[in-house]
Symmetry: C2
Subunit: 346 residues, 2 copies
Amino acid sequence: SRSINLAVIPGDGIGQEVVAEGLKVLSAVLPQDVKLETKDYDFGARRYHDTGETLTDADLDALKQHDAILLGAIGDPSVPSGVLERGFLLKLRFAFDHHVNLRPSKLLPGVATPLAGEPQIDFVVVREGTEGPYTGNGGTIRKGTAHEVATEVSVNTAFGVERVVRDAFARAQARPRKKLTLVHKNNVLTFAGHLWTNIFNKVAAEFPEVTTDYIHVDAATIYLVTDPGRFDVIVTDNLFGDIITDLAAAVSGGIGVAASGNINPSGEFPSMFEPVHGSAPDIAGQGKADPSATVLSVALLLRHLGYEAEAARIEDAVSADLAERTGKAARSTAEIGDALAVRVTG
Amino acid sequence: SRSINLAVIPGDGIGQEVVAEGLKVLSAVLPQDVKLETKDYDFGARRYHDTGETLTDADLDALKQHDAILLGAIGDPSVPSGVLERGFLLKLRFAFDHHVNLRPSKLLPGVATPLAGEPQIDFVVVREGTEGPYTGNGGTIRKGTAHEVATEVSVNTAFGVERVVRDAFARAQARPRKKLTLVHKNNVLTFAGHLWTNIFNKVAAEFPEVTTDYIHVDAATIYLVTDPGRFDVIVTDNLFGDIITDLAAAVSGGIGVAASGNINPSGEFPSMFEPVHGSAPDIAGQGKADPSATVLSVALLLRHLGYEAEAARIEDAVSADLAERTGKAARSTAEIGDALAVRVTG
Ligand SMILES: CC(C)[C@H](C(=O)O)[C@@H](O)C(=O)O
Ligand SMILES: CC(C)[C@H](C(=O)O)[C@@H](O)C(=O)O
């Protein structure tokens, strides 16, 4: 019989609330014969304040035993900027070699967008997750003085770039439009830019059916608001991916519906699924958060574990729920979760 | 009697056409007693192909003699990516210490925006121009092999950050809303992020009337499409500034109207003014380019040289011209320039 052994990290702020709904929908959608086991982990601001710990080696060993990880959100204004981001979230992405950071953007019918007209948006960003300016390389000298110098080193390897580029080509190949766009800034960041561009062109030769395209990151932000329909699959570096996926989320219905997967394709380590949004402390505990992004992240999780039909059922349920929202009274986090749980079983 | 000794760099593609209109409007707006001298420089793709040169020491010496520089656009597909960008444009910005890269965004009445509703957009981005990931520091080892490693080093100094932050505070102080937003990614790029944040907070204490705000660059792209009215003055690093000003241009009427100044505030070196758009080789030589961005860059140039009334006359002329475009037949580059030249004298 089948089973899913899931690590659950509700985290801070609205993380708790949205993860509860994600699990509700997950339980509802799974067939009877699939045994779902979950274990909660208390990472985040509270644990940091209590113990000074963000993510220990023992934590990593424990998490490693799971099939996948569901994360709500990590971050609180009471913790200095960077401590939980670098000490927990990025540490986990790096430790578990989550090199494919998958962020789909689809503007669903009936969903409001800040863009005029009726843009067609349906693309996936494959963001590199373990290199680039995110490595933490760099440093500071003469800190706090008038002569301080702070550096940040973007590290890019042929190994790291090729595997994510290859993953993106395979995803493009599997989609109807078969189009892949490389987003970088190779006219200024020429060292990293040439590495990315050369590998992209080399791998392209192995995927003759995939149409390819290159766009500078600055121009990409223009297209994301003037012509988002031009994108099918985008592959890009860690920092550019961070920036353009927030913009992509904004134009395709907002971060209330933006899901993401931090994927280790080999399966050597568990992959982690999380909404793109943060912990939103201003609305935490009020039942105001939209759990849809977390629920859609559960769909990505199921697809990753091979439950394609169940993933599609969740996506259809969210799509139907969103389509019926206009003009209705706002519902609480739990009410939306309840409605989605009903839909996936219906 | 007064005089302006201007270096003119038409450059590549549409650069030639739009600069001609910029000069037309400049001549028209200047009072009789101001003597305008211009000297053309042939930098760009043609010269690179003919001589292999992008910008020599002798070129820099010659440019140094001018009061200011007007640039059209540099770049052509026949030149490998990075050669003209690093070898000319960035070389010039760095050599002339253009540390304040000024990019205003204002959605003028009657101008189309990709955003729904009627957003109020009127802000200025002060982009640092001589540091960050643009320094060209970094390198490549094992180039072209499976073990290649390419690095890009973002260099940030207290000296460099403080002077641009100070400039931005002074600009915010001089505007009615007196609001300054720092855009960075200090939760991930903690070395550079802390330097920027600490200096920002330190200088803030000297400007008690200025309201301050901090936003991560990824979130800033969301606000630029969902709530651009929240911004008054933004100060940010070289790369983040590059990215968000293209997006800012897109939402506030497009790169057809986005102007910029590469400013050396001390006046030790001439400042350079250029449209944010590129050389657009696909429409070059056809009289299709909108010269408004270049004309508005001429306004920034005049303001920088102390001709405030003339700068305002140009801005009013462009504003009036744009307001009357809807429903009219498209005009050529020269026709728009002619119309603006008439308006500024009217
Ligand atoms: C919180 C932060 C470290 C993170 C990132 O920059 O990757 C977030 O913005 C994201 O996109 O998941
Ligand atoms: C052409 C390129 C080097 C330049 C930059 O990145 O600064 C351009 O995008 C700009 O914004 O002026």
